[in-house]
Amino acid sequence: MSVLNTSRGDTARDTALGAGRTARTPGPRKDFSAWANRHRKWLFAAPAMIFVGVLIVFPLAWTLYLSLTDSQGSVRAASEFVGLENYLTVLSDVERFWPAVGRTLSFTGVALACEVVLGMGIALLLWRPFRGEKWVRVAILLPLVATPVAVGMMWRLIFDPNIGFVNQLLGMIGIPPQPWLSGQDTALGTTIFMDIWQWTPMVVLILLAGLTSLSEEPDEAARMDGANAFQRFFFITLPLMMPTVIVAILLRGIDALKTFDILYATKGKGGGSFHEVETLNVYAYGLSFDYNQYGLSSAVLILFFMIIIGTMWLLTMRKKAVSK
């Protein structure tokens, strides 16, 4: 009796369940949902993976492929596989490639150093609340929101040797006009100045965020022990800020290495008549769009990519060491 009862109950439940299932999920859908369940970690990651694949991996692989061919004129034209020939050509080019490497590194190095030092100074000034703080912050952030090409064109007008504002201003106080952007030796420095003008605010923003999240205790303790402002900054604040500083250097450094727009907007193709501001990016752009030498240009870009990856790796190592 009891057996029968149990069995009947089971059967009834089974039937009910089975009927319910078939009614709610037809065959293929059931299969899909089971499959989706088993692969859900891939499924959820798929959009991001497709994005990375189409926009990062594929272009990179294609560039790598092109850098091993003699592709020129048109990307669709027949090209031959030439192995590492493009790399040899580029690496032995002391006229354009190596000077461009030098300019890229010095542009990044100088701009970055100035931006971090200036940025730290400004962030420290803005750290403690004061009257009109909001307005000052907005004013400081203004250069950041301008388009780099527009910034380049604006400075180009300001620095024009004959009709520019800066030289006229200097003239008023008796200083002879300077060549700024048009001088062979001064052009790179002037573009570095523009980069500092535009991007220091970003460094300020990052460092300020870091400063506000610091705990006050170590600073107060040092104050009680009679440390002066200088000592407190170098022995307390700066060491605590190091991870943030490295993040700022990392973010800004990669950006500075890749700088293209302000250089192109101020000096045009080839970085000026003497290639005075030709960085790797500008050089690669010229090779592609002016000379249509895609193989060579791709080789430059792959080498450039390796420089960026290398720098990034060094900095992340450093950050890990500091964070410990």
Binding site: L55, S74, S273, F304
Partner: protein, 431 residues
């Protein structure tokens, strides 16, 4: 269709610009053909302004719709590099520079062969086109474009300054030099002479000096000629004029907008530039010296006055376009005798002989400019830059001695260096 072109763009944009800001946006509609749309890409130019205003007439007459994209010169050429490279069919009619990109584009198979189309319509009249422009838009015996704008180099000068200094309009290069010297010495704030100084930009304007001194970029046997005696003299003369009598703190990056600005600000007495830009100097809205500008033919050098006479822009049909018949209809209309006359009256020197012969064609031009153009058209040379495939690179090589001379280097040594580099370049193109 759409998906395929996105992948193609990704490929080409990647190839062209890893790490750069690529401009590969595909926004055109794939079904344009069915909808009767012609997609036209034009450069920012006075000609474009005129045609833009007249497009409704074309739309009304043909029932076609025109989708217009307008870009700056450099952006235009970058756009072509990306889109045509990807084999995009999103451009039907394209404004291009026959001497700058014509050979390369034709070689890459970007331009449709228009030979049968241009000869099919007697009323439209291909025979009416001047010889130089036709030659420049023909590659390997095939017509690949229809010229729309022609240019010659002329001398712009300041009537008031010449009068005050008591000098006549220079007829020879020597007179030009003497006049520039005299005026710059008498007016410390004014340059005697201004012209383009950018390595690449200056090449086209320097070319007329080169020809007038008896030289050329490439000699009859296809060898580099920028190291010849004539070329050395031309480099030294052009660079010397700017170095000695040019604006103070002269920049070595000037193209026409910068040089023109100096002239129109009243800061220079003489300026050599393309005639097609004359409106910038005579328009009171753009020029402080609009009523004081005079024009003359390029002064004669040892080999005479030999300015270039070239088509600076033309219209072509994208070979990948599936809409070529409608594209041709647009070109036929935009380059008709009537439209050319209208454009020319608005200040764009055209390529049609009949329009130049028509008094209405020159009625809006300053009289001295019309005379200078007529003289230049007669003894003009059909190119203003080396006639090669990779023009951009060639310009940088042959332009180097110009900037070297401006900054005070020895013209002869710079020309020799450029000659070797240019010969190497020419050899590499032959491969």
């Amino acid at each position: 269709m759409k998906r395929r072109s996105i992948v193609k763009y990704a490929a080409v944009a990647a190839a062209l610009s890893l790490g750069l800001t690529a401009c590969g946006g595909g926004s055109g509609s794939g079904d344009a053909k069915a909808a009767g749309t012609v997609r036209v890409t034009l450069a920012n130019h006075v000609w474009t302004e005129g045609i833009k205003a007249a497009i409704p007439e074309f739309e009304k007459a043909t029932g076609l719709k025109v989708e217009l994209t307008q870009l700056g010169e450099d952006q235009l050429s970058d756009q072509y590099n990306v889109k045509l490279n990807a084999g995009s069919d999103e451009i039907d009619v394209m404004m291009y520079r026959p001497l700058q990109e014509g050979k390369a584009f034709a070689k890459n198979g970007y331009l449709a062969d228009l030979t049968s189309k241009v000869s099919s319509d007697a009323g439209w009249d291909w025979k009416d086109y001047q010889e130089g422009p036709v030659k420049a838009s023909t590659v390997d015996g095939k017509v690949v474009g229809v010229p729309i704008i022609t240019e010659r180099e002329v001398l712009y000068y300041r009537k008031d300054l010449l009068q005050a200094a008591g000098v006549a309009v220079p007829k020879t290069m020597d007179e030009l030099q003497a006049a520039a010297k005299k005026i710059s010495e008498a007016n410390p704030d004014t340059a005697g002479f201004v012209a383009r100084t950018g390595k690449s930009a200056a090449v086209t304007q320097f070319s007329s000096f080169l020809y007038s001194f008896g030289g050329d970029f490439i000699d009859g046997s296809g060898k580099s000629a920028v190291g010849s005696d004539a070329a050395k003299k031309a480099y030294s003369f052009y660079g010397g004029l700017i170095k000695n009598y040019g604006p103070k703190n002269v920049s070595t990056d000037m193209s026409w907008p910068e040089a023109m600005a100096i002239f129109t600000q009243g800061k220079a007495a003489f300026y050599t530039e393309a005639d097609s830009l004359y409106k910038n100097a005579t328009d009171p809205a753009k020029s402080k010296v609009a009523d004081k500008v005079g024009f003359a033919a390029l002064p004669a050098g040892p080999a005479g006055s030999k300015p270039y006479n070239i088509p600076s822009w033309g219209l072509a049909v994208n070979k990948a376009s599936g809409n070529q018949d409608n594209a041709w209809k647009f070109i036929q209309w935009a380059t008709s005798k009537d439209r050319t006359l209208q454009a020319q009256k608005a200040g764009v020197p055209g390529p049609r002989a009949s329009v130049w012969a028509d008094p209405a064609g020159t009625s809006t031009y300053p009289k001295d400019l019309a005379e200078a153009i007529a003289a230049s058209a007669k003894n003009g040379v059909g190119h203003d830059r080396p006639e090669v495939v990779t023009v951009g690179k060639a310009r940088e090589i042959v332009g180097a001695p110009i900037v070297a001379t401006i900054t005070g280097a020895d013209a002869s040594a710079a020309a020799d260096t450029a000659n070797d580099a240019f010969q190497k370049f020419l050899d590499s193109e032959k491969k």
